[in-house]
Each structure stands twice: as C-alpha cells, then as structure tokens.
C-alpha cells in the first residue's frame, strides 16, 4: 500500500496543468446547477435577515425560556466546521503529516467560508443588530466598555482573532500558487488580478525563506486559536447556570465535536469536488480514508462525553440534572432530536471501523452527511433543550421553527456552498507549491536510489 502523500508518476507541469485547469475554462453544467441552487438558498438568508431588521426578532421561533434556538445552534455548527479546517492545515502541518498536503487548501477554504457564515449568526441573533458594535471595546466618549466578565465578549475576541488568523493563514499559503496562476494565465485581466493577489511573488530563495517561516509561525498561532475558539464557545454554555450547560467537560467536548463534524463536512465537500474538478489523482481515496479515521476517533471521544454526561447527572443526584439528562432529553418532546443526534453521531460512525466502508466513497459521503446532521442536533440539544426545561418547572417551554428559521438555516448552507463554488473556480484547490515540494523530494529520493 502506498502512503497517501505518494503521488502518481507525473511531472510538475502535469500537476500545474491539472490543478489550474478549472481556473482557465468555463465551468461545467454541474457547477452551474450547484451554483444556482446555492444562490437561491442564499437569497433566502438575506430575505430573512431583511424581514428581521424591519420587524424584529420575533419572526423567529425563539421565546421565553428558549432564548437561543436555531440562531446559536447554527452558529456553533458553522464554527465547528471552521475549526476542522484549521486543524487539518495547521495542526497536521506542525505534526509534519505530509498527507495533509492534498487536502489542506480545500479544508482551509472551508474554514474561511464557514467562519464568515458563523460570524453572521451572532450579529443577526441580537434584538437590535444596529448596535452590535457595542460588543467591541471601541473608544467612546462615555467610557462604556463591554463587560469583560461575559463569555460573549470573549467569544467576540476569539471569533475575530480566529477569523483574521485563518484568513491570513489561508491567503499566505495561496501566494505562491497565485503566482503560478499568474504566470500561466493568458487573458490579460486574469494576469492582472492574479499578479495583485500574488503580491509580487518571484519565487526567489528569499521569498521562499520568508514564506516558510511565516507559514510555520501562522500554523503555531492558529493552533491555540483553534482550540481556544471552540473552548470559548463551550465556556459560553459552561458559565451559564442552566442544567445541561453548566459542565466543566464542555471545552474538550466541544473541540472534539467540532473536529468530528468539521471533518465530516470536509468529506462532504471533497468527494464531489475531486471528481468535479478531476483531481482524483491528487485527492485520493487514501486521503479520505485518513480523514475517516480521524473522524472515527473524534466521534468516539464525543460518544464518551455523551456517556459521561449521563453518568454525572445520575451520580450528582441533582433533580435538575437528572431531569435534564435522564428524563427530558431521551423522553421529552424533543426526544426525536436527541435520538437523531445519538444515531448520527454514535451509531452510524461505527461503520467506519470497516475498511471497505471507509474506502467506499458513497458510503463515506452518506456517513459524513449523517454526522453533519447529528452534530447540528447535538448543538441544538445542548443549547435549546437545556433552557427549555430550566430550574423552575412553571417556566418550562416549547420551541418550534418558524419559516424564517428554515430560511436562515437553509440560507446559511446556500451562502456557504456559493462561496465554496466560487472558491474552486478562482483559486487552486490543491496546494501546487507543496505538492511540487513533494515531487521534488521524491525525485531526490529516486535519484539517490538510482545513484546509490
């Protein structure tokens, strides 16, 4: 068996031709259909946001006591997706996992798109979106600052830092490739755009020297940020006094859950993308299988936490915790949501123990979709179900989606896929520079073998 980073026998020119091909020709019909569909969904998002600005947050299904429902659930969902991309590119980079090379660009792209969508949700979940900027500590004459005790403020910092860093990290990796595209582009307007994007890259040793150091530094910066980002989200819940939120296990739980769900989303993107862009030679089944293995591992972590939550609720003897975990979630009105989560996140991923399943792309794709569904419900169960049955039974409530909730949920996917589909047309989805480095190393090895 060949290692995943083993490349097919090809020349550097072939590699560049393959990867940059989508940038220089008209997209195929599948792309157009996908793009149209995604755009239609994205429009729903903006219509719903418009209605919300005109009429008020009441158009969504949240209420007393379920103050956070679809909005924060979907927010955490997209944050989770974003987290996984940085994991693949930064953490695997630091661990010198060469197999990441084929997929890091696309997962980083996923991160950048997902973080933007995630960032939208806190902004549109407030009652008065026009004063959202009060969450930032900006200088003002009244010396009013945000409340630094509030996890929402930490969240703003974490999200902003993470978004900026991941965008820079992503762009940094793209610079040598933009230069390649610039050099190959024949149309003048393309040359002009890509030369701006390449920021004067000449491929000199000095360029490479700076590039590699900067890249490694950003990898080091991104790694704690990615862990911190999702830990902050976890603390958002854990600081709360709500049974079901108030749990110290949340930070590692949320991070592993995010990686779990994010890798599933990466698989959902990579499987169709590699065939659409004809990159099967670069993004191989071996790569996907490795992703599946990491997904299985994080899935088991998540399953462990699920079990621990029940154990803790039973062990504490607190009637509040016991009701939330042992009664309401498994048997209450949203039990179907809870069991969907359990099925999709715990039961279905166990199929990945079977190698044939891991290497069957259709099966892998379906499992990944199931995990995405399960992870959305996981966040929903934590966020909404906990407050639905809070301390005083008299205040227990219900929650139901309105049409506008569906619009922002579907619309967020529409916007995400719109951006991804644009991304694959305008930037090389596989890191040409890094792959060439691998090619070079192989030829070195080959030469050594020949001469040895």
């Amino acid at each position: 068996m060949s290692a995943p980073h083993d490349l097919p026998p090809l020349t550097a020119k072939q590699l560049t031709d393959d990867v940059t091909a989508p940038l220089f020709k008209l997209p195929n019909l599948i792309w157009f259909h996908g793009f149209g569909l995604a755009q239609m969904l994205a429009v729903l998002l903006f219509v719903a946001i418009g209605c919300y600005c005109v009429e008020g947050y009441g158009i969504f299904g949240t209420n007393q006591p379920v103050n956070w429902g679809n909005d924060i659930t979907t927010y955490i969902f997209w944050i989770g997706i974003a987290v996984a991309g940085t994991l693949v590119s930064a953490i695997l980079f630091l661990f010198r996992q060469k197999w990441r090379t084929a997929i890091n660009r696309s997962t980083e792209g996923m991160t950048v798109m997902a973080i933007q969508i995630a960032g939208l949700f806190p902004l549109i979940h407030t009652g008065r979106p026009w004063v959202d900027f009060w969450l930032m500590p900006y200088p003002n004459d009244r010396y009013l600052w945000p409340n630094f005790k509030s996890p929402i403020v930490w969240d703003v910092f974490a999200l902003t830092a993470y978004a900026l860093c991941s965008i820079i990290f992503w762009y940094l990796g793209l610079v040598p490739d933009f230069a390649t595209v610039r050099d190959r582009a024949t149309r003048p307007w393309q040359r002009r755009i890509y030369s701006v994007l390449a920021m004067g890259w000449r491929g000199r040793a000095e360029d490479w020297n700076h590039f590699e150091r900067a890249y490694a530094q950003f990898a080091w910066i991104s790694t704690p940020l990615v862990l911190g980002m999702h830990s902050t989200i976890a603390i958002l819940a854990a600081v709360g006094k709500v049974s079901g939120w108030h749990t110290t296990i949340f930070a590692p739980y949320f991070v592993s859950g995010a990686i779990f769900g994010g890798l599933a989303m990466a698989i959902v993107l990579l499987v169709p993308m590699r065939s659409m862009l004809k990159l099967e030679r670069y993004i191989t089944v071996d790569h996907l299988e490795r992703l599946a293995k990491v997904m299985l591992a994080t899935g088991l972590l998540v399953a462990y936490v699920y079990v621990m939550e029940f154990f803790a609720a039973w062990y504490t003897e607190s009637p509040y915790e016991k009701h939330q975990f042992l009664v309401f979630r498994p048997t209450g009105e949203w039990a179907w949501g809870f069991w969907t989560m359990m099925t999709c996140n715990v039961a279905i991923p166990q199929l990945l123990w079977i190698k044939a399943v891991r290497r069957n792309l259709v099966a892998l794709f379906l499992i990944a979709i199931a995990v995405n569904v399960g992870m959305w419900f996981e966040r929903f169960v934590i966020i909404a179900l906990s407050v639905m049955h809070d301390a005083l039974p008299s205040t227990w409530g219900h929650y139901a989606f309105t049409g506008f909730d569906w619009m922002i949920l579907a619309g967020s996917f529409g916007l995400f896929f719109t951006m991804i589909l644009v991304f694959v047309r305008v930037a090389p989805v596989v890191s040409i520079a890094e792959l060439k480095a691998l090619l070079l190393r192989r030829s070195h090895r080959k030469e050594e073998a020949d001469h040895g």
């Binding site: 009441g58 956070w68 009652g127 959202d132 969450l135 709500v242 809070d390 301390a391 008299s394 205040t395």
Partner: protein
C-alpha cells in the same frame, strides 16, 4: 440668586464680550480684558515668528496681506471657534440635521398659559374616587399626571380596602381610554344605522316618550346616598308611572330570598370557613373587601404552640380558586353537595340537641343506605376520618372555643343546599357575626330575583311605553333567554351605555355615559362606609354621566323638582371636546341640575349631619373629596332569625361519574362587561393559568375515559344547546364534572376590537351563559377532531421533586417552625462557616455590604390566593405591554410578575401522581434581585447592573438583545421585546402575520396605522411617564418599581432624613389584597419586611442550589390540616427529597 459685587465693573471697558477671536483682536484688548495676558502672549509669539517689530503690528507699518496672515494665525491660537472646532461643529450639525429627519408629530404642545395653583409639572397628583368596574364599589386613589389618570390604587383611608385593590378595578384604566367607546355624542338608531343626535333633541324625544306613558328603569345595583336619592326622587316624581328594577349579575340573590335580607360575609371574624361548592375568592359574588378580610383570616398568627391561622375546608366538584387555597379539599359531585351539607348539619344538630327537618332526614337515610354517608356519596376520607364528621367536628370545635365559623355556598340557587347552609350558620351562632345583615349598605337597593326579567317582560308587553336601561347589558346577561328577545319588542328603548353594547344595539336612543374616572358619584360599600366618586380627567368624549342623563330626561319630561333644575347659564364656548371639536354637553346650558351639584347637595344635606363634624360645607366637602371615604354610623339592620322553609323532595343524585355541567363566572372577567380589556384578557386565570380564551375544564379521569387531551376541541351539548370549546384537563376536578365559565362571548363589535379577537374563527370567546339555565340536564361530549392551543402562561404544573414552593403543616410548624428549612439543603447555607449568609461555601466569599438602603421583599405563600391583582398592578405601573394570544402561546408574555401555581399530591402505587386529590400552592415570582445575579455576569453590554441599594437594573438603552441574561436567569423572570410590543393594543396578533406587518412597516416607514395599535388615541395616555416604554429588541424585567425607590431617594436628599418603613413600596406589594407581599428596606431593623423574613419558615428560592442570594424571601405555605403519617415521619433531608414536592 446671589448678587454680584459691583465695584470691579467701574474699572472695566464697556465692551467685555466678543463673538469670536476676530472681533477680539479687532477691538484692541484692554487692561481689564480677562484674555488680555493670553492675547499678549500670542501676539508676542506671532511677532517673533513673522519677524515683525513691536511697532510694525500697527496697520500703518505693514501690508494688508501681512496683517491678514497675522490675524489668521492669531485666531488659530486664541479661544473661540478654531478650524478643528469648526469641523467638529459641522459634523455634529450634519448628524443633528439627519437626526431631525423624523416625521414630526403634527400636534403641538401648548404649555400652561396659567399654571393651575398647586400643580408641579412632572409631579403626580392623586385623586380619591370610587370605581365599580369590578362589579362592587371600590374606594380608590387615582394617580394622574397632567390631568391624565395613569394608575389606580386602593384608597388607604378606606377601612375596607385599606389601600389595596383588585385586578379588575385596576384594569379600569384601560376601560377609560378604550377607543371603542362611543366617541361622537348621543345616538339615534334608525334601522341598522346609528346617527348622532344633539343632546337637546335626544332629551326632547325622550322627554316626550316619558311623558306619554309608563316608564321602566333598569339599573345596576344602586348604593350611595346621592345615587339612592336620585332613584327615590325619580320614583316619587313619576309616581306609579315609573317602575325601577336592579339587575346585578353578581348578586347573591338566593341569600336574599332565603333570609329575607341581603347579608355580608365577614370572613375576618371567622376561624373556620367551610365551603360547599362556593368560590369565596373567584366566584364573582364577593369583592375586594372579602379578599382583604380573607388575608387577615389566613395570615399566620403567633409562634410556637400558639401559631394559628384560619382554616378552609372545601367540598366541591370543580377546582375553584378557594379550593386551590383550601387546607382540606374534598371532591364531591355538585348534585350531592346538598346531601353533604345536610350530613354536616345532621352531626352539628345532633351535638347541639336539635333535629333536622323531616325531608332532610329522609333524604339522608335514603342516600346513606347501609354505608356511612361519606362512602355512599363517594367522598375520600381525611387521614382515616369521615370528611363530613371532620367538617362538623371542626365547626363544633370552633363554636366550643367561643369563636365563629362561616359556612358558605356562594350565590347558588339550590334550595336544599342553601337551606342547610343557612341552618348551619344559625345553629353555630354565626348569624349576625360572620353572616352579617347589619353590614349591608343602608342605601343599597339590592337586586331581587327575577325583577329585571319581569320589568323587561312588562315593557315588551306594552305595559311600559318606555324602558330606560342604565349601564347594564340585559341583552347579553340574558342571552339565549326570552328576556333578551323581549328587549327587541320594547316600544321605546333608551340605553345609557358607554359603547354600543348588545342592549344598546337594540335601543332607539343611546345616551353615551362616562367612565367612572370621568364622572361624579358615590357609593356605600358596606353599611356606613360612604365613598365619593370624583372625576380624575375631563370627559374624553361628548358623553354625560348616566345620572345626569336621567336628570335631563326627567326635566325634559316636565318634572321640575327643585333638585333637578338649575337656572340656565350660558355655555362656555371654551368647553369643546378634544377629539370631536363639538360643544360638550353642559347641564347648565340646558337648565338641568348638574350631577356634580346634585351629589354635593346630597352629601352636604344628608351625609354631613351623619358624619357629626362641625365644619362649614366647603370644608366638609373638600375634606370628603380629599379622603374619598367618610365612615358614619348607621342603624344596624339585624338579621332575622332563620326558619328553615318547607323543603321540596330531594332530587335523586345522579349515578356516580355521570357528567354534569357547572357554569361559573369567569375568575378574571366576572360578568364580561369589560371583555374588551386587553389587560384582563392577558391576565391568566388564577387556577387554570389560561389567557384569552374560554375553555371546558375536564377531570383527568374523564379526559382519559372519554379520550380527550388538553387543547382538543370538544362539542358540548346540553338541553339542545351545543357549544364548541377547547378542553383543559383540570387536575383536582371531580370525575363527571364539566366546568365552563361565563363572561366571554360578547357579540361582534358589541364590546370592542379586543373582544372581537376571540370571536369564532379567531378564538374561543364563547358565551356559555345560556347553558346555565339547562345545567341540570345531562350533557354530552363529542370529539370534533379539531384542536386549539390554549394560551397557557405556565409551562409545567408540578414541581417534579424540586425544592421550589415549600409547604409545611401547621401542627408540625408549631412544634418546629424551622424544620422545613433544615429538611432542605440550606442549613449549612444559612449558618455558613464564617457566620455570614452563604458562608465561605462560595468562591466569592461573603456578600457585598449595602450601606444605604437594601431593598428586599417577603412573599407569604400561605396568604397568596393567586388573584392576579399584583400582575395587573405591575402592568399598569410599569407600562408592561399586552402581547396577544399568539405570543402568549409561544411563551412570550411580558408580565414582570407571575403567579406560579403548582399541584402537589401523593403518588399512587405505580409512582404516578394522583391527579384528583391535589393540593395547590401559589407562588408569585418576580425578579429576585439576586445579590450575585447570573444575568449580570453574562451580559456583554453591561446592560444589566446592580445598584448600591441591591436592585438589579436594566439599562434599556444599552441592551443589544443577546438574551444571554434570560437564558442564565434560573427564575426566568426576564422578558424580551420580540416585537415593538408597545405599539400594539392587543399584541401583534391584532395586526396580522409578521409578513403583513413587515409590508406595512416598510410602506409606512415604521409607523403602522393598524386598528390594533396602542398609539390609537387615547390609549397612549395611559402610559406611566415615570417608566420608559421599551422598544423592540431589548430585555426588560421587574426592578422593584425602581421609579418609586428613586423618588424616595430624592425626598430623602431634600429632607435629610431616612424614609420611614412603608414610605415606599412596590406596586405589587401595595395592591396585594391579602398582603402576601411585603416590601421594605432590609437595612431598617424595624421594617416590616425584616419581621417577615425573620420567620423560621422563610427561604430563598434556588439560593442553596445556585448561590444567587436573592433579595426575595418566600415564607413556606402552612397548611392547617392534619399531618399525614408520611409528613410526620420525615426527618432526614433524604426522605424529604424522596417525597418530592410534598413536605
């Protein structure tokens, strides 16, 4: 003003002011110029820079260019508007110009040309008055700002209400500003259309009708010296031609028939209340006074072995409001109540050596058979004791101890039951004490049974040519009966009403009446307690007091009684209506005595002598108006001894479990007169917690047997009448009993736009009054297959084993009052390792020290009856918006205080709770003002912060609406403005779906002009100007009536002394009829609230669990019933835990 010493002025140059630096430099700076040194320094600097000599600064030595440059530079350096300042000003001007781009309100605000004496702008003025919106006269204080009533409070000078008020009376404010009142003067009906008619023409037409034949006069209950005298004078003036009848839907007419005299129940003089199917609290025949006295009866008195409180024993089928607070509640089918009553009477009579009437003995023996009576009637035992014997034993024990009891059955018309109740009260010596004939108002004309219907029948038959109906609505109250149909046959029907009611729609002439807050009047709530009604606002529209209309009619009919007429005075042209711009009715212009003068004359003529004060008329009148209440001694009317009537044969009880219908008055609306009141529509029922719709209460046993679930729509057929109602499965309701509530179901547009929101297709505002007449027949229930989600404000009805509303039993409380507290988890919490509240159990250490005031509250669950007066008080005080049925269904009601109602019961063998023999505990929950507030830590915008008096604020301006605080609030008392609720009169449901509203909003740039808007005149007038009206997207919540504690702080600053206890209180504590809520300063050792909190059965909600350190202390509900074996056995916290919600 301090005067300036004028000596330095002489040395100064004439011009000491300048507009800018240019003018300053142009006018050579003089020696006295305050900026001179600075100018000199600047000039010196500039000269150096420009290389100019001292002399060359003069214009003759330099070129004009050089001088201009010098002047420009000088201006830069000098005070005044500089370039940067100019830019700042320009920017600001642009911003203000943009901010000014709102559409301006077209009306102008005109300041006082002559400010009324004694009026301080921005300071509230209180007027005493009397309101009857709750069906009974209640002495009130009306808080007004600039001539607009904004809140109704109880009159503290009234010995009956003692400053407290009920929900319906407080909601009268909304009735005043109701836009659905008749706004354009007197009306004449021609076919289906109403057309305005001048008052003079109306009076002429009515006068002619009155002069031509016999007249019927149908009024509501009459009391008060002036109102009584008006009726007396009318009757004597018209002689036999005028027949008067009183229609009082809430009157206890059966008692009048049984006793030959109306009675007043004095629960405060009783130690025991035994109720047989009567709802003393929510039954509609008792009022605020009885609720206030019930509080005295129920309050825990004494400590240790002498601790005691009044006991309530209830036998009933449905779960009533009284049943919900009962110590012992025994379920019984309503048709067996009479037998239970006679069973009790049998035991009591036997003990007192009396015998029962033959018919009763026969019936009891027949019912009993071979079994004990209670078993034969299907009653549960009380800790192994026969409940009938228990009740009788308690009654006898109370009598033996020299105290009194009260046996009560409400305004029921069951002759057998009524006779037993009267007999029991007689035997027990309660007549004249708790069943008080002497307290009945001397001036009252009580409603006699059937009188109103007979009068209408006479009018329909042509015996009476004219029928005048004053402020009552027989067409609705008699709906479905021949009486209602007879109204249409009356030759001339004149209706005096404030809106086009069902009756007014049939009238030939409508004379619009004033609301109680706009007109004069008087009342006598109990014998000798006379109260005045004075207007607190100019009439909003062209209407006149009903009494003034009667005077005008009489004068027009040629009755020239001296007290009815007044010399004609020219109309004041300035008296124009605010809205219609038509001249308002003025009695003086028509030569009619004004009703105000009439009331004044009667009070000076007949009340002043009774008051036994030696003052001149003017002083007496002013004092009476200021106090509002005058207590005089009147001749007591002794209650005649009770002689049991000949009882007809007892009807056979229906088989056990057979369905039977009980129609009760709505516990919120009473008779439905004010169904258009959105505050009341959104006030949840004290027991069922349902708002906006009528419902059919079904026993859990029947629901299971017949396959009905909550919110199923059932078709109820009885006596040929079928109604469809949504089902509410009512825990505690006896199997076989169906309960519905009257008060709903006003015809379309007859009550108003808010009441219309319950009409068919939009809601279930169903009139079930016609069913009451046929309630003795057998009802049938059918499924319709439809469902209707009732807007219930409570999410879950049981405590699920949580330590939330604590209870104790009196006998256990006596021996160990703190036991319940120790049984919880908080003993360690109380003592703490460092001796301070919470101790070092918390990482935060001990609590913050509050040096000034520290506001706190005590809530006594024993005296709370769930009556919702606090909810309405809070709504009025704090401008709480109404959100409507759809929003309540979603759980978005905005009430800052709510009353949680939990059912508790023992579990059966399978571990499921018993749904039939339940006990109820009411728990008012408002913001607990936590010392360590979970909401404050998580707010990112610092929009919710603590003040130095322990109150947790909401800074609405700063709130961005993340709602994190509400998620984190364990009490869930925070309320979010999901929409611009303050814009709507009855919630956004009245103005279409969100999409419709969005379209409208875009069209009108945010200012919708819907029918249901609050900004519809004159509703915006009811807002309390002391409290911010919250906009959409911000969180709000209770802040212990912050505006009130702020006001105290200002008076303290002015007077330099600390406010006395009771000087400030919250709206809820102020109004609570039973005084279950006490508010005060925890730092004041003499404060009442500290005495309440110090009691051993107090605890703080969820504090032990979550370390929130609330400022609210709850006092456990003490049940005055025998403790169960289980309760006696519980010693350890673990056992208490296992018992779940039961102590």
């Amino acid at each position: 003003m301090t005067s300036m010493p004028d000596a330095p002025h002489t040395t100064r140059p004439a011009k000491t002011t300048w507009r800018d630096a240019a003018e300053l430099t142009a006018s050579a700076p003089g020696a006295g110029d305050e900026f001179a040194p600075e100018v000199a320094r600047a000039l010196a600097t500039l000269r150096r820079q420009h290389g100019l000599s001292e002399a060359s600064c003069q214009s003759d030595g330099n070129t004009p260019d050089e001088l201009a440059r010098l002047r420009g530079d000088l201006q830069e350096m000098l005070p005044g508007v500089k370039r940067r300042g100019f830019m700042q000003l320009t920017g600001a001007a642009a911003v203000f110009a943009l901010a000014g781009c709102y559409k301006q309100h077209p009306d102008t605000i005109v300041p006082y040309a002559q400010q009324p004496e004694g009026t301080a702008l921005g300071k509230a003025v209180y007027y005493s008055s009397t309101l009857r919106d709750s069906g009974k006269p209640v002495a009130v204080m009306v808080k007004t700002y600039d001539g607009r009533p904004i809140k109704i409070e109880g009159n503290p000078d009234s010995p009956l209400g003692r400053g407290r008020c009920d929900a319906r009376t407080q909601a009268a404010l909304l009735n005043l500003y109701d836009p659905d009142r008749i706004q354009d003067g007197a009306q004449r009906r021609d076919g289906a259309t109403l057309s305005p008619i001048a008052w003079a023409d109306l009076d002429k037409a009515v006068g002619a009708a009155l002069a031509s034949g016999n007249v019927g006069l149908l009024t509501g209950p009459i009391d008060g010296p002036a109102r009584r005298q008006l009726i007396n004078e009318l009757t004597s003036a018209f002689g036999a031609r005028l027949q008067h009848a009183v229609l009082d839907p809430s009157a206890d007419t059966s008692r009048l028939a049984d006793r030959g005299q109306d009675v007043v129940y004095r629960i405060d003089k009783a130690a025991l209340l035994v109720s047989l199917g009567g709802d003393f609290l929510g039954g509609g025949s008792t009022g605020l006074t009885e609720a206030v006295e019930f509080g005295d009866f129920r309050r825990l008195r004494g400590t240790g072995d002498s601790a005691d409180l009044g006991q309530v024993v209830v036998f009933e089928g449905p779960l009533s409001q009284l049943g919900a607070v009962a110590d012992v509640r025994v379920r019984v089918a309503p048709d067996r109540l009479a037998l239970v009553a006679w069973g009790i009477a049998e035991v009591v009579a036997k003990a007192l050596g009396q015998t029962l009437p033959e018919a009763a003995r026969t019936a009891l023996d027949a019912a009993r058979g071979a079994k004990p009576l209670f078993e034969a009637l299907g009653l549960r035992d009380i800790e192994g004791v026969d409940p009938i014997a228990f009740a009788a034993g308690r009654l006898l024990a109370v009598k033996k101890s020299g105290k009194n009891s009260l046996v009560y059955d409400g305004p029921a018309t069951n002759a057998h039951l009524g006779a037993a109740v009267n007999l029991l009260n007689s035997l027990l010596g309660n007549d004249g004490v708790t069943v008080d004939g002497a307290a009945v108002a001397a001036t009252a004309i009580a409603a006699t049974p059937g009188a109103a219907a007979a009068l209408i029948a006479r009018a329909a038959s042509g015996e009476l040519a004219t029928l005048i109906v004053v402020d009552v609505n027989p067409a609705f109250l008699f709906a479905g009966s021949p009486t209602a149909k007879a109204l249409a046959a009356v030759k001339t029907l004149i209706v005096l009403a404030d809106r086009v009611t069902e009756t007014a729609a049939l009238a030939h002439y409508i004379a619009p009446t004033l609301h109680g807050l706009e007109s004069w009047g008087d009342a006598e709530a109990r014998a000798g307690v006379l109260s005045l009604q004075q207007p607190a606002i100019q009439p909003l529209w062209d209407a006149r007091a009903a009494e003034e209309s009667l005077l005008a009619f009489a004068v027009a009919a040629g009755v020239k009684t001296a007290s009815f007429v007044q010399p004609v005075v020219a109309t004041d042209p300035k008296q124009v209506a605010v809205v219609s711009r038509r001249p308002l009715w003025q009695a003086a212009a028509a030569g009619v005595q004004s009703w105000q003068n009439y009331v004044r004359a009667v009070w000076l003529g007949s009340v002043k002598p009774l008051a036994k004060v030696v003052v001149d008329d003017r002083t007496f009148w002013n004092a009476a108006l200021a106090r509002g209440v005058v207590v005089v001694s009147v001749d007591a009317k002794a209650l005649p001894a009770y002689a049991p009537p000949e009882l007809p044969a007892f009807p056979l009880p229906r088989p056990a479990g057979a369905l039977q219908l009980v129609v009760s008055p709505s516990r919120v609306f009473g008779d439905g007169t004010w169904l258009n009141n959105a505050w009341l529509q959104e006030t949840s029922d004290p027991v069922a917690k349902i708002t906006w719709d009528n419902w059919l209460a079904l026993s859990p046993a029947d629901a299971q047997r017949l396959g009905f679930a909550e919110n199923d729509v059932a078709k109820l057929t009885i006596g040929g009448i079928a109604v469809k109602l949504p089902v509410h499965v009512q825990e505690g309701q006896h199997p076989g009993v169906l309960q519905t509530f009257s008060g709903w179901g006003r015809a379309k547009d007859r009550a108003g736009a808010v009441a219309n929101l319950g009409l068919e297709g939009m809601g279930y505002s169903v009139d079930v009054r016609p069913l009451a007449a046929v309630a003795d027949q057998a009802p049938t229930l059918e499924h319709t297959g439809e469902t209707w989600q009732l807007a219930c404000t409570q999410g879950h009805q049981r405590m699920e084993g949580r330590d939330i509303a604590r209870e104790d039993v009196l006998e256990l409380h006596r021996s160990d009052p703190g036991a319940r507290r120790r049984r919880g988890a908080d003993e360690l919490w109380d003592k703490g390792v460092d001796g301070k509240e919470g101790g070092r159990l918390s990482v935060f250490g001990s609590s913050h020290e509050y040096v000034g005031h520290k506001w706190g509250m005590a809530v006594d669950l024993t005296t709370c009856t769930g009556c919702q007066a606090c909810v309405v008080a809070c709504t009025a005080e704090n401008n709480v918006p109404v959100v409507g049925r759809d929003e309540v269904r979603k759980g978005r009601e905005m009430h800052w205080i709510r009353i949680d109602r939990y059912y508790t019961s023992t579990a059966d063998a399978t571990g499921r709770p018993d749904l039939l023999d339940v006990e109820v505990v009411h728990q008012p929950v408002m913001c607990q003002q936590c010392g360590q507030a979970p909401c404050e830590e998580v707010c990112p915008a610092m929009a919710t912060v603590h003040n130095d008096e322990g109150i947790n604020h909401m800074v609405y301006n700063r709130c961005i609406g993340t709602r994190y605080c509400s998620n984190n609030c364990p009490y869930k008392v925070r309320r979010f403005n999901w929409y611009e609720y303050s814009k709507y009169r009855a919630g956004p449901i009245g103005s279409g779906s969100p999409l419709v509203r969005i379209a409208k909003n875009i069209q009108t740039s945010g200012a919708t002009s819907s029918q249901a808007e609050l900004s519809q005149a004159p509703l915006q007038m009811l807002l309390n100007p002391e409290v911010t009206v919250r906009s959409r997207g911000v969180m709000e919540k209770c802040n212990f009536c912050l505006q009130r504690t702020r006001e105290i702080r200002e008076t303290e600053k002015a007077s330099g002394s600390r406010a006395k206890d009771g000087a400030v209180t919250t709206a809820c504590a102020q109004t609570c009829p039973t005084q279950a809520i006490t508010f005060g300063d925890l730092n004041d050792p003499n404060a009442q609230v500290n005495a309440a909190i110090a009691q051993a059965h107090g605890w703080k909600l969820l504090d032990a669990e979550l370390n929130t350190r609330p400022a609210v202390t709850y006092l456990a509900k003490i049940r005055n019933r025998p403790a169960t074996a289980e309760e006696r056995g519980i010693e350890s916290p673990a056992a208490a835990h296992a018992a779940g919600g039961k102590p």
